[in-house]
């Protein structure tokens, strides 16, 4: 089981990609972003709060996400994040890069 912390260039970039992916289906608050990644990865990836929120705020600052305050399912005030046009473009670029990278890594590892 992997833990995503806020150190390391590759992991940080990857975290941003995962967040973008999580938000592709619609606006979510920080807690559900973490939950979604954890569940979707079948508990393989756990996102630490200390990495998640700085990443969310950084992405908001850079215009990949925008945020608004709303009411959560259980009637609490929560900050919802959603993708901007920039964010979508970024997600496309990142997933292509990721696909190339993982297949390249797979090629290398499958070499006999």
């Amino acid at each position: 089981m992997g833990t995503i912390t806020d150190s390391g260039e590759l992991i940080q970039g990857t975290l941003e990609m995962l967040i973008l992916k999580a938000l592709l289906r619609g606006p979510l608050h920080g807690y559900s972003v973490a939950e979604w990644i954890q569940q979707t990865s079948q508990q393989m990836l756990k996102v630490e709060e200390g990495a998640l929120y700085p990443a969310l705020h950084r992405m908001e600052l850079r215009g990949m996400l925008k945020s608004k305050w709303g009411i959560s399912d259980n009637n609490r005030k929560a900050k919802f994040y959603e993708l901007t046009a920039d964010g979508r473009k970024r997600l496309d670029a990142e997933s292509q890069r990721w696909a190339r990278l993982s297949s390249a890594v797979a090629f290398v590892m499958q070499a006999s």
Binding site: L61, R62, K77
Partner: protein
């Protein structure tokens, strides 16, 4: 880029919504914690464990907030803000140090800004006309090292229509014009300008039209002479009447019609003049009558010539083009082939220089003194900075424990250097602001001082963008000079060492104490240079005053009458002057009265070729004076007599020679009773010598008295010189003489403009204004340098001694006598001062050569000045070193050691 902009905008927003940001961060955290809390509880984790787990995953709330907040901030900006507020607190803790530092810098930056704004006003500021950078000044090079900027009318006309690279070539000259008003004539500053003057300066009139080439045709505009007036004159003379166009003005008894009004910002092409009347050059013969310079042709050099460049060519191309045109213009304009041949031998050619700032003769006069003063100013600023740097360094040593503690707590060295630089920036900015605040006042009085009080000149020393830029750069440089070295030094070195030993160590700091001492030595050297420079300039000035004028200026008032436009001539004119003289001699306090055509030291020169019969001609200065002139001026009469009112044209021409002229013309016999000849074009004037008088200086105080001949005003044959100055010797205050002069003139003829009264002493002072300004400023700077150096020496030694308290305590406990302690501390500084003096002496010997051209009768290595300067510096340095030394001797060994 778009991303950066987005980020920037959001951060700016966050900057203004700080509280909202904080609340949102807290809310978001609370929400997440609540969700986590619920989830863990649902999973059946015990209540206590839930709290623990939540806390573990978030850490402290404030740290969490801090981390997120940082994202939203301009980190460097907020750090800067924090540094500023910390710096202010630190500086407030030591108000004495801060006050001294700010004052020192205010003085340094203020002095520099003041002198710079003078330089700006005189040398740099462009004319307030469109595209002033396309203007060029045209001069004449004819083999002299200096370019000549005066043109005769024919030469200018030759250039005016040959303007390939220029859209226009124009000329102007200033002239005092007599305008007839209700209360008599009034002198008004004006300019005579060529036809293209206004079109080249591209400034639209407020009302009416400007002068055009039609106005400048020979004989003037067929519709009559036109005059363009300034807005100020419109206000003063016509009370801003809208129907001013077409009104008549009588200038020098010639009728003019007002054709236009120029806006206030238009001052022509001489930045120091404020002409109120502009007339065409074609009107000059009518205005000046028999003294017309146009009529004098190529013998009269009176015009300043400038041009506006076409859009394409460069100044270099223009220069080449006017040089190439020189020969053609010369042959076309000058009818005298001998004269042309002589000029061609000297490679006569025109030159074009940048004219964006217009043209003023004062620039040629003051460029060097101002540059020298500026250099001294820069020296003062450097001194001030070095001084503050060494004080800060000493303070930095005392603050080492604080800095080391911050380093230990994880601050980077860069951060600490930044902090220390911010402190010096605070000092520099405050100092600069104070300096800027006082600078306009000082530069105004400086320009009055430089140009003479009653002068017609105006230097615009107001603060403009260049002055502000200069001040900003000066303060930035000062910050770096003051702050950087001490900051780097204070943050260097072993951190553990500092914390362990704090400020009581002596062993590890030897290396660090070298740098301040080198700085102090440099400071002493620089101060010595400034003191030597001031000493040289001041002693030169004193020698200049002591050299004597050959006459006694004390109690002498000059009263100038403008009679050139009056109809009085010949004997009638003499009766007028005699009447005036009688009138003056009855005033209280007046002991004697006379008249002179030329007042000494006003830069007017009249020379003639005189000879003894059968001997060779000599170029001798001449003046025309009235009866009793030599008694009034206290010039000794060696032989013969003064002129008298009875010396009329009918009684034969008389002349009085000064001793040099007598010796030159009659080397082997007494001059009295001899004949002196002046061979003029038409006739030979034959004079009889009736007196020999003492030598008196003529053109300037710096030059020795020239051979001079005095002719009698009563025998004056020059119709063009009807204006004389009354020379009045008085006992006591000259107060009412001006009123008396005005009343006397009004009584005799109300058409004569009010006479101008100046004391001989102020004429001498004005003629030496450049020398006086330089000497006074340099003495002022030298005093500042001495004070600053004393403060620096005292400050650094006091700090150093304070840090050695325990060591001195131990020395005393071990038996050192107080006198030994005093000597030890004192000589610590004495060696610095000695090294600095040696350094400064060498530098001063080299640098003083730059002053050679300003000095009168003073060697650049004048031993008395050097000895005096060293003595002054030694005294100051000793005093500054003795105080801390004496203080250190009062250290009580017991207390000092217990401190450790």
């Amino acid at each position: 880029m778009a991303q950066n902009l987005h980020e920037f905008l959001l951060r700016v927003k966050a900057l203004f919504q700080k509280r909202r940001l904080e609340r949102e961060l807290a809310d978001e955290l609370a929400f997440h914690q609540a969700m986590l809390h619920d989830k863990l509880l649902k999973q059946g984790v015990a209540q206590a464990d839930v709290e623990e787990a939540t806390r573990r995953s978030f850490g402290s709330a404030s740290r969490w907030q801090e981390r997120l907040r940082e994202l939203w901030q301009f980190r460097s900006l907020e750090n800067f803000g924090r540094d500023v507020s910390y710096g202010v607190r630190v500086l407030r803790r030591t108000p004495g140090f801060t006050a001294v530092a700010i004052l020192t810098l205010a003085l340094g930056v203020g002095a520099n800004t003041t002198v710079f704004s003078m330089i700006n006003g005189l040398l740099l500021r462009p004319l307030a006309v469109p595209e002033s950078d396309r203007l060029a000044v045209i001069g004449i090079s004819q083999g002299n090292p200096r370019t000549n900027y005066s043109f005769s009318e024919p030469l200018f006309r030759g250039l005016e229509h040959r303007h390939d690279v220029f859209t226009q070539v124009f000329a102007f000259d200033h002239a005092l014009m007599q305008v007839k008003g209700e209360g008599g004539n009034e002198n008004v500053p004006g300019q005579m300008v060529s036809g293209e003057f206004f079109s080249a300066l591209e400034t639209a009139p407020l009302l009416g039209r400007t002068l055009t080439p039609v106005d400048d045709r020979k004989g003037g505009n067929p519709a009559g002479y036109g005059v363009v007036i300034s807005e100020g004159f419109w206000q003063r003379w016509f009370n801003r009447a809208p129907n001013v166009i077409g009104q008549k003005l009588t200038i020098n008894n010639v009728a003019f019609t007002v054709v236009g009004v120029m806006p206030k910002r238009f001052i022509g092409a001489d930045p120091l003049e404020r002409p109120e009347l502009f007339v065409a050059m074609a009107a000059e013969p009518a205005l000046n009558g028999t003294r017309s310079m146009t009529a004098a042709g190529f013998h009269a050099w009176w015009l300043t010539v400038m041009g506006r460049l076409q859009p394409q060519p460069t100044l270099l191309q223009a220069d080449a083009q006017v040089a190439a045109a020189s020969d053609a213009v010369l042959h076309e304009a000058i009818p005298d082939s001998g004269w042309i041949a002589d000029r061609e031998k000297r490679h006569f050619h025109f030159v074009a220089e940048s004219g964006s700032g217009g043209f003023t003769y004062l620039r040629l006069m003051f460029r060097k003194p101002l540059t020298a003063v500026f250099a001294m100013c820069a020296g003062i600023l450097l001194l001030a900075c070095m001084n503050l740097a060494s004080l800060l360094m000493a303070r930095g040593a005392a603050r080492q424990r604080e800095l080391a503690t911050r380093l230990a707590m994880g601050a980077t060295r860069r951060r600490l250097v930044q902090q220390l630089l911010v402190e010096s920036l605070l000092i520099a900015v405050t100092g600069t602001a104070a300096g800027l605040a006082i600078s306009p006042l000082v530069s105004k009085s400086l320009s009055v001082f430089l140009l003479g009080g009653g002068s017609e000149m105006h230097v615009d020393t107001s603060l403009d963008i260049r002055v502000f830029a200069f001040a900003a750069i000066a303060s930035l440089v000062a910050t770096l000079l003051v702050g950087l070295v001490p900051a780097l030094q204070a943050t260097s070195g072993n951190l553990n060492e500092h914390i362990k030993n704090g400020q009581h160590t002596t062993q590890a700091h030897e290396r660090q104490r070298i740098l301040p001492r080198i700085m102090m030595a440099g400071e002493v050297g620089l101060a010595l240079m400034l003191v030597v420079g001031a000493g040289l300039l001041a002693s030169s000035l004193v020698r200049l005053y002591r050299s004597g004028a050959g006459f006694d200026p004390r109690g002498i008032e000059n009263i100038a009458f403008s009679m050139d436009q009056q109809p009085l001539m010949g004997d009638a004119l003499m009766r007028f002057y005699q009447q005036l003289g009688d009138g003056f001699s009855h005033q209280t306090g007046v002991t004697s009265v006379s008249f002179a055509r030329i007042v000494p030291f006003t830069h007017y020169v009249w020379d003639e070729n005189l000879s003894a019969p059968g001997a060779k001609e000599h170029d001798i200065y001449q003046n025309s004076v009235g009866p009793d002139y030599f008694r009034t001026m206290r010039i000794p009469l060696f032989e013969g007599r003064e002129f008298a009112w009875s010396d009329t044209t009918a009684s034969g021409l008389k002349i009085i020679l000064n001793k040099s002229a007598a010796a030159l013309l009659f080397p082997d016999r007494s001059a009295l009773g001899q004949t002196v000849l002046n061979k003029e074009d038409k006739a030979t004037l034959q004079y009889q010598v009736v007196g020999v008088v003492g030598d008196a200086k003529y053109e300037e105080l710096r030059s020795p008295a020239p051979p001079t001949a005095y002719s009698a005003m009563t025998q004056n044959s020059h119709e063009d010189s009807r204006s004389y100055n009354a020379v009045v010797h008085m006992n006591g205050k000259p107060g009412p003489i001006a009123n008396a002069a005005r009343a006397l003139v009004m009584q005799i003829d109300p058409g004569i403009p009010a006479p101008v009264v100046t004391s001989m002493q102020s004429i001498i002072d004005d003629s030496l204004s450049a020398e006086r300004t330089m000497a006074l400023l340099s003495v002022f700077f030298a005093l500042c340098a001495l004070v600053v150096t004393a403060v620096g020496l005292y400050g650094t030694l006091a700090y150093a001694t304070a840090r050695r308290t325990s060591e001195i305590g131990i020395r005393m406990a071990l038996g050192a006598r107080r006198s030994q302690v005093v000597a030890m501390v004192f000589f610590q500084n004495a060696s610095v001062a000695l090294a600095g003096t040696a350094l400064g002496l060498g530098a001063a010997l080299l640098a003083s050569r730059a002053l050679a051209s300003f000095l009168y009768g003073t060697s650049t290595r004048d031993p008395r000045v050097f000895a005096g300067s060293i003595a002054a510096l030694a005294m100051i340095a000793s005093a500054a070193s003795l105080l801390p030394a004496l203080k250190s001797a009062r250290i009580d060994p017991m207390t000092a050691i217990r401190c450790e």
